[in-house]
Amino acid sequence: MLRTYRNQPQLAGDNQEKEGPMRGTSFWKKALVTSMVGSFALAGTAQASEAVKLGMSLAITGPTSDAGVPYSKGAEDYAKYVNDTQLLGATKIALDIRDDEYKNDVTKRLFEEFLDQGIVLYLGYSTGAILALKKDFEEVKIPVIPASFHAGNLVDSKYIFLPITSYSGQVIGLAEYVAKNHKGGKAKAAMFIHPSAFGRGPVEDAQKSVAAGLNVEIVEVVEHGKDLDNTAMIKRLMEKGVQYVITHTVQSPVATLLKAAEGLGVVAKSFGEAGKLTFLGAHYTGGNDLIALAGSSAEGFLWTTSYTLTSEASKGTDLQFEIAKKYGRDEKTMNSHNYTNGMMVVQVAVEAIRRAQAAGKKITRASLFEELNGMNGANAYSPMTTVAPVTYGAGDREGVDALQLYRAQGGKFVREGAAFTPAYYKKPN
């Protein structure tokens, strides 16, 4: 049973005053009897459906809601799909999706509300909120699958399961690609990051990889503000000999950066073109929204994620289209990689529930935690919406280890080479 309606309007008794006190009394008697019968009926339904409660809070409004909205639709649709197609047999899932407005305080309140409701798994969102609630997750021993791929989420925590490779892994993977394909001496790169825990997370890991022998020099780390023009910054980077800009932020600052570079005529036509800049980015920098925002300046942008894209035919894409069409989503939503992302986290949660059921276990936080940790080796889970299977274990809480590089070409992202695993990246224990 998917909870979609909250605070149902109270319509009963609207006409009581018009009908006089006696008829009003009769009405209330009827209403009381009806509500009692209804309550019993609903109680019976709830028992029969065995709804497993899941909670999801994310930014449906406010900052990053451009990613949060399709993410929530993906999660909502897959939950409906599970119930409608009886993927879990008689068991239904009740996914409560709430808007945290990208605020930690609101997220905390929603999380407490979810716990009061008795959820068995929590689907979180922002890096800040996940870090803020980390201790709570440990205390209540609840498995958490966030939309944040921050490697720091995993430090001193064993209940947080990243869906795919961390931001650190993504950035290091991009740097490895640069090192491997750069012609000449050591490649000079700059990092262009979001001014937050989310953006800063991979910087230290990237620098460690460089120290460990990755043949890239990180010349400068730029934390972008709310600039509407990056001309001066681009010129400064070029004066320092930078050829590659690895971005790790959200789409709009990247679009601003790309437009400024196009205005200066310094966007590389091919990878590593001398005297020009080649732009690369991690998961939340790319996708169709970037192309919509940056237009022609996005051409050649190299983007990495672990998800399949609807611009490339695959079984996962077919499933995504089927579900999105079934629930009447528009073209933009159904082609969003964040829709895929939202779908995938519910897929993983549902798979854990299915395995616990199959093993004859009661669906609890503990049993789901156990099942998630058992997703490895022959038991790895392939949701089809990712480029490699989801694997978790005692020392591994990053789901999909492989990354796929995509290149913006002709107004869409196309696959660039085969999926790969960053060699210099060390997962946090």
Partner: protein
């Protein structure tokens, strides 16, 4: 003086001292004591869930902050748009103590009342320093000066490693006589603590306003030149108003830090400063009871708007792409504040005053 101290009606004062009483009648005092007893007792009988307790705790913490804001803006007439930054100073003082001493250091976990006082004192220090421009600035110019403090605070927290660049700095669980306050009783415990702080500081403000120092605030607000001519020191009064507001804000920050068991930058932004101002205006600027009504009204309004947005979002007849709540919250807040400024500039506190007057005379009309 009224002969019947239980049911005195009208103004029967024969001395200023009588007018300055905290409770005008024994009945007032009795009702107040009963009300406080209910406030302390209800959680023991009604099993409120954690979410409800967290919301109530938030209201209480905001009350502490608004008591301070009301002192500086309501009573002293000095507009402050950086109050959330003062709350942040208190919260980050607690976080820095935890990171430097160690989160499980007994000072943080056992001597937490002292930590709360230290945070308040740090807030007072910052308040006094930020209040210095008030010696030369007034009205909008002072507002900009306090706004700049808010900006400096936000920038400093986000940039400096000392403050974990705005990421959450954790605090450990505290101890009470019964041992560690675990998750089960966490929100209930901080309800009792926050309620006690609100009562103590509320009485503090009430008593302050009966003293010459409290009357100085009002006198300087109404006419600082006249106050100067009467022998008061307007400059010193303004600075100490800011210091007092900073103290209250610092205490609120420490309570917030312990309640959330961590301090993150995004709880002390300009947005929060504006919300605090809204609380003070809606509650009633320059009134003690307004400091209690405002936070309760705004927090509950926010929750109801959130519920309305959720309902609209899921309503079949509403376009799914509407994302109404993005606009709904600012719209409702703005609308409520404008309505209060237009039709009830004295805030909810005035409704409370009218209700009390009515009950005092009831069943007679005048």
């Amino acid at each position: 003086m009224a002969t019947n101290r239980w049911l005195a009606t009208g103004n029967f004062f024969t001395a200023y001292k009588e007018e300055q009483r905290i409770f005008l009648t024994h009945l007032d005092r009795t009702f107040f004591v009963a009300f406080v007893a209910i406030l302390y007792a209800w959680p023991l009988f009604l099993n409120a869930d954690n979410k409800t307790m967290l919301v109530i705790d938030n209201i209480l913490v905001a009350m502490v902050a608004i008591l301070g804001l009301n002192l500086v803006t309501g009573f002293a007439g000095l507009i402050s748009i950086g109050h959330a930054a003062f709350v942040g100073v208190g919260a980050y003082t607690a976080a820095l103590l935890a990171s430097s001493l160690g989160g499980s250091h007994p000072f943080m976990t056992h001597w937490w009342p002292a930590v709360i006082v230290v945070c308040g004192l740090m807030g007072a220090c910052f308040g006094a320093v930020v209040g210095l421009p008030a010696l030369r600035l007034k009205h909008l110019y002072l507002a900009i000066a306090t706004l700049s403090f808010q900006m400096i605070f936000e920038w400093t927290i986000q940039v400096m490693d000392l403050f974990n660049q705005g990421q959450t700095m954790p605090l450990e669980r505290v101890y009470w006589f019964t041992g560690e306050v675990g998750r089960k009783h966490h929100y209930l415990f901080w309800y009792f603590v926050s309620l006690t702080v609100v009562l103590v500081l509320g009485f503090g403000v009430r008593n302050l306003l009966r003293t010459r120092y409290g009357r100085c605030l009002v006198a300087v607000r109404d006419n600082d030149r006249a106050a100067d001519a009467m022998g008061m020191h307007p400059g010193l009064t303004k600075v100490y108003a800011f210091a007092l507001a900073g103290f209250f804000a610092g205490v609120a920050g420490a309570l917030h830090a312990y309640l959330y068991r961590g301090v993150g930058f995004d709880s002390f932004t300009l947005h929060h400063s504006i919300i605090y101002l809204a609380m003070a205006i809606v509650g009633g600027l320059g009134t003690l009871s307004g400091s209690f009504w405002g936070p309760a009204a705004i927090v509950l309004l926010e929750l109801q708007v959130e519920h309305l947005s959720e309902w609209l979002k899921n309503a079949a007849w509403f376009p799914a792409a509407g994302n109404l709540s993005t606009a709904l919250k600012p719209l409702v807040f703005g609308f409520v504040i404008v309505l209060f400024l237009m039709f009830e500039p004295r805030g909810i506190a005035n409704w409370w005053r009218i209700t009390r007057s009515y009950l005092k005379l009831w069943p007679f009309r005048y």
